[in-house]
Point group: D2
Chain length 438, copies 4
């Protein structure tokens, strides 16, 4: 049985493609900077937005009528959902997928049911992976949707919730390892506060630090070779979340001595909600040495919540991809489409439109960014701009050979009078447009 009978596997057909459901730019095996596109991009489709979300929002019920979401026995539905998901991944031609524990198996009414259901579905997922060749980019545990987590998971005032979350995360990490996942992600949806009137920030941070330490130790204990990732988000659902942005996560990791153990999974829409550009968050994480993976989507620049739309700007993604390439490209990470079709896009075919368009946008962006790398005018400009720091004085300063008063005396003695020089922002912006548009 097929859940997408009208859709044939998506193929690369180039710009001459006559059908909307063809890749015009994404040619998986095409070499870019000596590596196939697919290996650069490591793209993943996610379970939750595409196979779990019913098309609801705060003001209205679900608009979707997915055959795999019809009522009935929960485990039977989970099997149907897996069938639909892997048919979708295969027809789409995406190499990876991602999931939360409770996306793929029903939570059940007890931890025993949870563990049992999840174990059964692991067998299914393992078999599906073998049959299709689709791999797991990362797994994660949903410790935020169930009402029990209303006041947080690891940061909950009640340690039993910490224990409950530990049970889920431990199980999901083991599952991720068994399925050969390349990373494991931690997203603290409820790890934050609603009001400071009832919240002890210091205590909650300590709890969170302990939790992350336990996760790191567990990783080593089970020999998981993938990367641990924290996903920053500033607010929503909570008023304020502890993992606000890349710099905040970095500070947290430094505080608990975890900066060599955990990297960040950067989401475009979370970046913009934090008042940063996506480009900024990528570049900051790279500068801090914690760039891990990317949740590819986009927000609405005029709205203040997570819209999780598909990325559709080559202009934006070219700059992001350029930074990723400059940082060495992805190792275990990749581009996960944490993106959902609009609530009005209620047909199954819309799921393909969303992903196909986004994959083409990333492929185009990769090509444009690679073009920028080949003749790296930006890097040359920067090298020249900072050249003074490579001189003797700059090096002495950075090496700590001079004290503040030494430097001050140097300045007073030479009566230095340095002036600003042009940063050439407009010229550089034109260079980028030239890389994109010729």
């Amino acid at each position: 049985m097929s859940y997408f009978p009208s859709v044939t596997p998506i193929r690369f057909e180039g710009k001459q493609a006559q059908t909307p459901l063809a890749f015009r730019h994404y040619d998986a095996a095409k070499l870019v900077l000596g590596k196939p596109m697919r290996e650069h991009l490591r793209m993943a489709a996610c379970y939750w937005h595409t196979f779990v979300w019913p098309g609801s929002d705060v003001f209205g019920a679900g608009t979707f009528r997915r055959p795999w979401q019809e009522g009935g026995d929960a485990m039977a539905m989970a099997h149907n959902k897996a069938d639909a998901a892997f048919e979708f991944f295969s027809k789409l031609g995406v190499d990876y997928y991602t999931f939360h524990d409770t996306d793929v198996a029903p939570e059940g009414n007890s931890l025993a049911e949870y563990r049992n259901n999840f174990a059964q579905m692991l067998d299914v997922l393992e078999r599906k992976q073998e049959q299709t060749g689709v791999r797991l980019l990362w797994g994660t545990a949903n410790c935020f949707s169930n009402p029990r987590f209303a006041s947080g998971a690891a940061s909950n005032p009640n340690p039993e919730l910490f224990a409950y979350a530990a049970a889920q995360v431990c199980t999901a990490m083991n599952a991720t390892q068994r399925l050969g996942g390349a990373n494991y992600v931690l997203w603290g949806g409820r790890e934050g506060y609603e009001t400071l009137l009832n919240t002890d920030l210091k205590r909650e941070r300590e709890q969170l630090g302990r939790f992350m330490r336990l996760v790191v130790e567990h990783k080593h204990k089970i020999g998981f070779k993938g990367t641990l990732l924290i996903e920053p988000k500033p607010q929503e659902p909570t008023k304020h979340q502890y993992d606000y942005d890349s710099a905040t996560v970095h500070g947290f990791l430094k505080q608990y001595g975890l900066e060599q153990e955990i990297k960040v999974n950067i989401e475009a829409n979370h970046a913009t909600l934090a008042g940063h550009s996506f480009h900024h968050e990528i570049a900051t994480a790279a500068a801090l040495g914690i760039l891990g993976s990317v949740d590819a989507n986009r927000g609405d620049p005029q709205n203040g919540w997570d819209t999780d739309q598909f990325p559709n700007s080559v202009e934006e993604m070219t700059l992001a991809t350029y930074e990723i390439l400059k940082a060495g490209g992805f190792t275990t990470g990749g581009f996960n489409f944490d993106s959902k079709v609009r609530r009005q896009s209620l047909d199954e075919v819309d799921l393909f439109h969303g992903h196909v368009g986004a994959m083409d946008v990333l492929a185009l962006s990769l090509e444009r960014a690679a073009g920028m790398i080949e003749n790296d005018l930006l890097a040359n400009f920067k090298a020249e701009r900072y050249a003074g720091w490579d001189g003797a004085f700059g090096q002495d300063v950075l090496a700590g050979k001079l004290s503040l008063s030494d430097i001050a005396e140097h300045a007073f003695a030479k009566q230095i009078n340095p002036q600003a020089v042009s940063g050439r922002q407009e010229m550089l912006e034109n260079l980028v447009n030239r890389a994109i548009y010729g």
Copy 2:
């Protein structure tokens, strides 16, 4: 000669005050929680907004016609400005003041002139302090207004600018020490980026880290006993500033091993520009152990730039003051009015209206917060809410006696099924209003 001939020294007259220019709540010597109001609040007026800014904005020229800003010999004007400033501080009855190097003395046309002018004005300030009893809460150096700093000071691509800034900061630190300043502040107005296309984030962070290390070493070298403070701000004037918020500064300090040496000076309006409440930034800094001082003002919740209005919300300041008191109160820090009258408030008397109202707001807030502390229902509520963590299991978890799988096994074995309990936000909000309004 008087610059404010129509204003007599502001006195505490209580709620029955008939004149607008009287304190109705700020009674400097009144004991609150066993300490005089003035010692709790340690309020300061600043030089720049009140004695330097001409009432200009991006779309228009200055509207003020201050006698001490009339053209003429720069040093003569600096003397006039000091006369006006200390007359104002004295009549206002504020215990402290704050300044930038270039507020109090003309920059001149060379570093030699800068040093010389500043040295002369130091004598003046020292004498004024003695005469009036007004003390220096903190000094700082302006390394952002002069065009030479267009591309940053410590983070400039040109190390000569780093040296120039070092000359100013070294001089301003020495001056602050001589004047008995209680703190020294670093605000990186241009330490950030305008475009990533010409910016090397990693290099610039390293430069900034080096600069802060040099400042710390200089402090110890000269034996300055005050506190070093970094003032966070997310953007404006630069697209993005490196000292985004308290958590970002904390991460930076951790990275360079400076977290025992530098604290934060939190500005209310900078907090809200960063997407945080002022209350949040205070509480976060306290939780991270880096709460130093406060720039008291307010922003406009609907606008996206620094409006630096006088604080006028007792509701907001009571919560902030409660957190400060809970954190032990100010040591070297205080409330500095980094606030300016509106461009339309062009009379000298408006300077008094702004400060008098704000001082009364802080006094009222202190009294309300003290009331909350005396019968600390919030603290009691929190203690009960987190009580589970004080039990054996919670303590074992925090102490690292249990691994992730130990905890998971505990959860599975006991089939725990913890449920959410009410956080009572509305009840607690009512408690706060009761503390404020009776």
Copy 3:
């Protein structure tokens, strides 16, 4: 049977009240400016947030376990809900309530069922109103939650949806009239666009204009004496909504000649989402002559979505109430608490905490605003500030007796050189604080 057995009717006990569930400021019969508090405030509790919403959000399922929300026969549940609601209204001591059609009766599976269910529940509501004395401030129809309205109601590309909405609105208007409702509200949750790529703004505006015209005609046809109200909101759930703010609604009404027929229902949180203060929206609607009623709540100044928290700022509500009093006070309108307890406030008693605190805030704000009116220093200041316009020249200009070149010639001839005078913002802000805090 009681749904709130532990709660006794809330009484005014004054500031000495020992229990959290007592009014400390709201004394219904107390005269303020010669009118009882209850008649000034005309406060209403709403059905949806308190009796329908399950405590869900975008990232998690409902946390509430209300006895009247347990599964079972839909009509039986509607009866239970009505019992709970009117017990709540009565114990709370609120004079009014508000509802959507689908809050009070199940939608059913067809329009026939809808009409029939609603008709049955109308009998119930009518009886409840008689028994309790609680009155209907306004009714409305929910034309946004059902998936059928995904692309709008009146502005839907399919006219059958327009017809469906007409069926609901016609029914709900008739019901409102029968129940003696004082107003009828239109909120266009889905009347807006998600993407301009598939949207014809002009067509949709025409459809909306036609719909409003039909509603007005129906009002007159059935002899409804209440006020028709449009509720502005800028976005959420749609990217952009046609009823963005008061000024936009006013323009729309002018375009379709409806400005004498429809007023606005201003929601505090919708105002702030539109980039305006609540105060601004009240004052603008008053200036435009379309101030109708108020949805009292508050948003989070740092978040970008509708949080619908209970109003808890006397400072904010005093200014809003002052404007309402200056505009003559409410006629048919009132303060409806379009407010919900936090998802973590999951006990029934939290519903009381939220409302009791909010009612006290409004009562206090009314008293403070009345104090401002009695000795109207703001009005006096404004009168003097604009006095020039009451002179001959100002009056001639406004009366159109002078042309642009006449006025220009007057200016050139007299070589006028007018200067700015102080707007005294800080002094006026202090006056307001004095009115609030003494």
Copy 4:
């Protein structure tokens, strides 16, 4: 003498251009949809950002050292500035320019000096226009920078300021007519409020309505054939400005019966400050019949003030240009670059980089939008989507042949059960990307 000796006139050289200062896409005479590019785009450079602004911002002094801004006799400088400006316009190859009265001539110390200086410079501008062929897209008066306008111009509490503004606007309108300007623009920089505590919204709106009526009458009196334009902006410099956005201006025009007389000049950065996309504001103005002209620039999506950067997104401008073309294209309006180089872009050559890049972006966007028009898949999709409204029932509804109860009865009688259909947003977004990227 040349102010830009190193720059030769910018030429179209196509994608093979070897120099940064060449057009790669803007080929003025190239036909697009049967009309030369230059006639579609009607591009203008502005006087203020490029020839007046010194590179200052709120936190720092000007960084530019333009030869035409050196101190000296004000009229001599105005001549130099005109020389520089027209050399720039000519070398750039832009067909139009724009100015404020006080950009081109010194204000002087009295209205007499103002009029005299302006009159002299008019002769200069007229001669320059003849010599270069550069034409005036629009003129305007600066009634916001001088301190006298601190509390507004037409909306000032003092009618003498209204008169002063009338003198300027009358003079500037006459000048615009004499110079053959295609439009006259009104931007109310200070027409708004800082605090409602001292502001009478109703009075100020009446004053503004009267002013606009006078302007319209003056236009007809002097026989000016161009278009009058109001430029919306939500805030900055004032807390709130009366011309918030296109819909607000439209409502204002309707209120004063001016909707046939005045159109809007839409600025991209003003749109985003108002919480709208630029695309939205264009489409809204077109739908309301008041689309006049465009101020082409861009803001920073993460900052909250007017950055006035050069437009550099083909993706954004293609959608905007598509809407303009669909609305019939510009008549008297055009694209004015209300854009400034960054404060760090301090060389004269940066002025060329900014404009050349932006002109290429508009040229590319025009070509892409024209491609979308030629095979108008979006229009076809919309036509089909709304087809129901062209049927008998839809037409009867719109024509007012059916009452609300008629329509309701139709719905009940037929037991209609309309369902949502897909809006295909993702597919349409892909179509747009295909138009841009092939």
